[in-house]
Amino acid sequence: MNAKELVEVAERDAQRFRDVHQKIKTEVQRFIVGQEAVLDAALTALFAGGHVMLEGVPGLGKTMMVRSIGQAVDVPFSRIQFTPDMMPADIQGTNVLMETEGGGHELQFQEGPLVSSLVLADEINRATPRTQSALLEAMQERQITVGRRTIKLQEPYCVMATQNPVEQEGTYPLPEAQLDRFLMKIQVGYPEIEEYEAIVDRTTSGKEPEINNVSSSKEIMELRKVVLSVPVPQFAKRYAIHLVVGAQPGSDFAPKIVNEFVSLGPSPRAVQSLMLASKVRALTEGRFAVSNDDIKAVAYDVMRHRIIVNFHGAADGVTADRVIQEVLQHVQPPVV
């Protein structure tokens, strides 16, 4: 294949990615009003092969958005409502005593809702750490182990979790190891004032729009390969690394606020996540390579849940977003 053909294939793949991305977005927006940035971030996680955490107060349509994405993509979808009394076997699956045709009994494994492609983990912080930890293997290894049985999960596998930031009583905050497995953490805010009218019309008129399947799991997997083939220039790679290292206390690139108020910085997994999310953004922006602007754009969503503010920072009202803002201002793109 000569250079011209290579360019044509790349341009065709990139164009296909943009088309599918736009179709899914349009289909979901038939039901979800506004929240375009949230929808973009959720689709970024879907195409980048990661998981996403949606955090927002109740009533903002988080669950509805994830359900709509599941309907638009046409992948096996399951919803888990996390409760404090939920056990790992409730989501992973367990052996159930079943009656056979001959009148006998046997133990059969019944899969839990985690065995799916698009999993909505609703109010994930209401479950105990024991149940939350059951997600670790599924999110990272894409498999579930119950007893001696290991189940490979079907790709594309994506966990979209929601949690409520204000109602903390009776909840169990996710441990850092679990948070790190989410590619992005998106903060869902209130819709714009002009969007409220459309929300009322669509949800209270008795005419709920139907969401059609505009993509498939196979197409999602193909587009994931396209995302992985987006090249990253050396300067952008270094900039991403400097940003992540700059958010680690005690590093050479860390600003003062990081050294004073951050107890735990992002891990190397954050660099991977920055790269993947930046690749998706570069494709959606119509470019063929990652730029520093892409890294800056996804830095908040990628690094927000990977920065743990210490006690003094929490007392002074320092948030992870403020830390990231300072890091972005402090760390300059490398010259070459």
Binding site: V7, A10, A14, P233, A236, F288, A289, V335, V336
Partner: protein
């Protein structure tokens, strides 16, 4: 060849053409920025004045005059910042802005999202993949537009010279302080009796020229401002000083200027003098009062300085002298006197050399003649610590103990403390209140056979003694009949007999 089908080498050349003028523009801006940056010049501006002041203060006690003309000082002060500016300019001239940096600037100015810089990197790849070629092609389509809309770097405005002006003022202040030091110190070195000159300089520093040191007879000028009584006193002390300098030069080595005086001299000084301070017989004027601190800082010879450092190394001892306290009982605490008064307390007549006694008498006379200003500083060692408490002989003897009351060694107390038993004896025994640990000793003893009386067994026989009283329950008649009939029927059936 169409515009979008160029080879990577051609694209590289186009990118270089695009980057070259911008790189040159960036280099010029860098030179301009470096040469106009004034904030970094404050340090070099202050470097020479600070160093000059330090050296002047350091060399003044040694008698080395580092005084320079003001023109030279200002030139040397300005020289370092100018060198710094020239160095910056040279470095900025030598610096070369890379094409990648220039292309990044173009991307930033034209909001191209790093397309040019990305293409510049990808054209260097040996075998680019499809997306890299697509990125190069994407940038190639925008090169012409970038040529048209080339960014123009705004001229760098000079910084506010506030820091530099502050540094300049500070440099002038440092130089002025240095000039003050150069004036004041050599006066004391050149003229031992120049206290009044220093006082005059201190009163009107701005009116004194810098070469006041070299004036031949400043005493005349200053003495005209004094009262006749002060002049008389000054003449007396100057005569004493002249005698001292001529005949007692070696003795002055032992008695450094500015030290204390003897107790007799203190007593002769009258009640107006403060304790521990040398007194003047005449009332001093305001100018003299101001001159006193300067006189204390009068530079001394190296020998005097060495003695002073030795005295300073000694640990300070609490003064137990009753001088000036009006108490004749003596101190119960360690009586260490001031250096000149300690001589009378410590040194005995037997141990003193007769020649030294004469010298001491001469010095006392001289001290009286000087009005107590020049103290007798012979044997400035502090007296031994005569602790009158019972030391039990555990104290470490001092090096300067003369065997007449110093601590350590044998008991040397006086008075009531002498009567107290000074021998240590234990008043208790260290032991534990419990019985202590018990000791268990095991002995291995072989068993020994013993003879015992054997007893044969025999039958006990029937009971012969009465059984005693047995209670018998009286049954009712119907119950007796019931029991008799029960056993009768049981016998009839062949039951148990």
């Amino acid at each position: 060849m169409s515009e979008t089908n160029r080879t990577p080498a051609e694209v590289r050349a186009e990118l270089s053409d695009l980057a070259r003028p911008v790189a040159e523009q960036l280099r010029r801006g860098l030179v301009q920025q470096e040469t106009r940056r004034l904030s970094g010049l404050a340090g070099p501006t202050l470097a020479f004045p600070a160093t000059y002041l330090f050296l002047v203060v350091l060399m003044a006690p040694l008698g080395i005059d580092l005084q320079l003309p003001w023109l030279v000082l200002v030139l040397l002060t300005v020289m370092l910042p100018c060198c710094r500016v020239l160095l910056r300019w040279y470095q900025a001239q030598q610096q070369r802005v890379a094409d990648a940096v220039a292309l990044r600037a173009i991307d930033s100015e034209l909001q191209l999202a790093d397309r040019m810089a990305t293409a510049h990197e990808f054209v260097e790849v040996a075998q680019p993949d499809g997306f890299q070629l697509a990125a190069i092609r994407d940038a190639q389509q925008r090169i012409q537009a970038a040529h048209v809309a080339r960014p123009s770097r705004p001229a760098v405005a000079p910084e506010s010279p506030r820091s530099l002006s502050v540094a300049g003022l500070a440099a002038l202040a440092l130089l002025w302080f240095a000039s003050l030091v150069t004036v004041a110190v050599p006066v004391d070195v050149a003229n031992p009796g120049g206290e009044r000159q220093v006082a005059a300089v201190a009163q009107k520093p701005s009116e004194q020229p810098l070469d006041i040191v070299n004036q031949p007879k400043p005493e005349v000028k200053v003495a005209a401002q004094r009262t006749p009584r002060q002049a008389q006193k000054d003449s007396n002390s100057s005569s004493v000083s002249e005698d001292e300098t001529s005949s007692d030069a070696s003795r002055r080595g032992k008695n450094p200027i500015g030290s204390g005086r003897s107790a007799e001299a203190r007593a002769a000084a009258g009640g107006g003098s403060e304790r521990g301070q040398p007194s003047n017989q005449a009332q001093s004027t305001k100018g003299e009062k101001s001159a006193k601190p300067k006189a204390k800082k009068k530079p001394k010879s190296k020998k005097d300085g060495a003695e002073k450092t030795e005295d300073q190394k000694k640990p300070p001892q609490e003064s137990g002298s009753t001088l000036g306290r009006g108490s004749g009982k003596g101190s119960s605490k360690s009586p260490t006197a001031s250096p000149w008064s300690a001589k009378d307390q410590v040194v005995s007549d037997d141990e003193q050399d007769p020649e030294e006694d004469e010298e001491v008498d001469d010095e006392n006379d001289e001290s009286k003649a000087r009005g107590g200003v020049q103290p007798n500083l012979r044997q400035r060692k502090p007296p031994v610590n005569r602790d009158l408490q019972i030391s039990m002989g555990s104290g470490k003897p001092q090096d300067d103990a003369n065997g007449r009351g110093g601590p350590g060694g044998p008991k040397k107390q006086r008075g009531v403390a002498q009567l107290v038993l000074g021998v240590t004896f234990p008043d208790h025994i260290s032991a534990k209140p419990n019985p202590g640990m018990s000791k268990i000793t095991q002995e291995r003893i072989e068993p020994q056979a013993q003879q015992g009386d054997s007893i044969n067994g025999e039958g006990r026989g029937a009971r012969a003694a009465p059984m005693g009283h047995l209670s018998r329950r009286v049954l009712s008649p119907w119950m007796q009949d019931l029991v008799r009939s029960f056993y009768l029927s049981l016998r009839e059936e062949g039951g148990p007999q």
